[in-house]
């Protein structure tokens, strides 16, 4: 009886694993298959032939054939990195203020920041589209970066607030009695200690920018500023879809995200829960 229970338990775990991993694996496999094989009926489960055709087409720098994926990738990298650096810098300042100071309206300011973040992208896109067009920053990386900074700030504050709280106040107090200014104490004591947590917050911000679709689909119009999620739609015509191509660009999109997440997963969870529980 105990044996059966144990087997059932592990079967359940296995089933879960398959459910979580299979869709991604299927995308990955399909990215390396020729299109006719994907379309074959009955299904061809194990690829007869592997090909990197879709990737060479996407990345042929001299005169692209299918979709200018390299340009999209560069846009994505630049927009996500720059917006992350800015959002982390100003978000960290905010997080530090919430963790270390008591001031009037602290909780309501914190709540308002979170509520600002809750505004759905598509609802925000309508006025942003008009305003950015008026200001002449539509279809520019600058405009997209600006939007992502604002979107990432509230969550960065939530995370860094939690990490700064984990550091005992006394440590910076000791440093300050030894003659450091508050800024020096922050720079030499608190920042290094909160480092891994801030790294996690940065990756979270990066991923949000990397994956965002609703807003970018409106304020980027051409290859000049389109990011990967928007570029992915190039493979989608009204009636036909280039499945292999879409899978290939999906792989390009997911691999950096996966690597980054594996690096920070531990800190991510502790940051989210600490900021929330011990508030």
């Amino acid at each position: 009886m105990k044996q059966i229970k144990k087997i059932a338990f592990w079967l359940l775990v296995l089933f879960l694993l398959i459910l979580i991993c299979l869709p991604g694996i299927w995308i990955f496999v399909s990215a390396f298959r020729p299109n006719p094989e994907i379309l074959s009926k009955p299904a061809n489960w194990i690829p007869d032939r592997w090909t990197i055709h879709q990737f060479t087409q996407m990345f042929s720098i001299n005169g692209y054939v299918s979709v200018p994926a390299f340009k999209y990738l560069m846009n994505s990298v630049i927009i996500s990195s720059v917006s992350t650096v800015i959002a982390i810098t100003i978000g960290m300042m905010g997080g530090y203020a919430f963790a270390r100071f008591n001031f009037r309206g602290k909780n309501s300011i914190f709540l308002s920041l979170m509520l600002a973040r809750a505004v759905p992208g598509i609802s925000l896109s309508l006025p942003l589209f008009i305003l950015f067009a008026k200001l002449g920053i539509i279809n520019t990386s600058f405009g997209v970066i600006l939007v992502y900074v604002a979107m990432n700030v509230p969550f960065t504050i939530w995370l860094t607030d939690g990490f700064f709280r984990q550091i005992p106040k006394e440590m910076s107090e000791v440093a300050r009695t030894d003659g450091c200014t508050r800024l020096q104490a922050f720079w030499n004591v608190e920042l290094p200690l909160a480092g891994p947590g801030i790294g996690a917050a940065a990756i979270f911000a990066f991923l949000l920018s990397w994956n965002e679709y609703a807003l970018a689909s409106i304020i980027t119009r051409t290859v000049h500023s389109k990011t990967l999620p928007i570029g992915m739609m190039d493979y989608l015509d009204e009636f036909t879809i280039n499945w292999a191509g879409m899978c290939a660009i999906a792989v390009v999109m997911i691999i950096p995200a996966l690597i980054l997440t594996f690096i920070v997963q531990k800190h991510l969870v502790s940051g989210l829960t600490f900021g929330g529980v011990k508030g």
Binding site: M114, S123, P229, A250, Q265, V277
Partner: protein
């Protein structure tokens, strides 16, 4: 007074407030204004054509809008509850494992990395009636007529819910697992000695302890409910015959396809209030749960 206002913490928070003010607050004030005009993208001068509450009146009279609104509420109710339930189940399951727990936890985070647009595409591919993984799989078992998952008026919504649940269950699972790992062993053992069964232990000790974690997960999740737009947009585009139209896809259609910005902005306000209400509700619950736990 004013010197104090511009010192210390306020200076530190100011850049955040400025960024949010410029990208979120000012556009929202602008769109609030346009929701009282007959603004159409194609006719810029209509920006100053003030029509009072007419857009909102049209909204109230619009049955399509109310269908989309009701569908959105239903969608969120089903999806959030199932995600919480599955997330709790997975967390309890993984909490029992001693060997390879770390690896499993990492794998569990997998769907969190996926862009919603990618999740949508991935499930569009799986649910495709012709070449989809699911129908091919059923074919193996002799089920030869292709099921039109995304074309059938009833199945389409269910398929979208599957995608949404796949993408977001992991955030619940991860956070609840973190909560489970933090539960002190003593009260559980004491309760077992006193003769409590597993269910009683779960209900009286584990669950109250998990409550703040449940609300953290719900708060974080409620920030992003609007991202369902991406998934629906790529999977069905609101079709078939608007059967999967949610409030967010309807905004996009009215605003960009029909270029009727004033009306779309009025609708946007309903969706913003919806999101903010969700977040506010869970956030206050979180604060309360936190306070309860602190008192114990």
């Amino acid at each position: 007074m004013s010197r104090k206002f511009f010192s210390g913490p306020f200076i530190l928070i100011l850049p955040s407030i400025l960024a949010i003010g410029f990208v979120i607050i000012i556009p929202l004030i602008f769109s609030f204004y346009t929701s009282f005009t007959s603004y159409k993208l194609t006719r810029p001068d209509s920006l100053f054509n003030f029509v009072g509450l007419r857009n909102y009146e049209r909204l109230i009279d619009n049955t399509k809008f109310w269908y989309a609104f009701g569908r959105t509420i239903l969608f969120l109710a089903v999806v959030l509850n199932l995600e919480l339930l599955f997330g709790l189940g997975i967390a309890l399951l993984i909490n029992k494992i001693t060997w390879g727990q770390r690896t499993l936890r990492t794998i569990m985070m997998f769907p969190m990395m996926f862009s919603p647009i990618l999740v949508g595409f991935q499930w569009k591919y799986i649910f495709n009636d012709n070449i989809g993984l699911l129908n091919n799989f059923l074919y193996l078992f002799g089920y030869e007529s292709a099921i039109p998952w995304l074309i059938d008026k009833y199945l389409a919504m269910g398929s979208i819910m599957v995608a949404e649940i796949w993408a977001n269950t992991s955030i619940f699972a991860i956070l609840l697992l973190a909560g489970l790992l933090g539960i002190p062993r003593d009260p559980i053992e004491a309760a077992r000695v006193d003769g409590c069964n597993s269910w009683q232990v779960f209900k009286n000790i584990t669950l109250p302890f998990l409550m703040p974690f449940i609300f953290i997960a719900l708060t974080i999740r409620s920030l992003d409910v609007g991202r369902a737009y991406d998934i629906v947009h790529i999977m069905t585009g609101g079709g078939p015959a608007m059967r999967t139209e949610l409030i967010w896809t309807m905004i996009a259609r009215i605003g960009y396809k029909d270029a009727n910005m004033g009306f779309a902005n009025a609708m946007s306000y309903v969706s913003i209030i919806l999101s903010i209400a969700f977040t506010y509700y869970f956030f206050t619950k979180l604060v309360a749960a936190r306070r309860d736990l602190g008192q114990q």
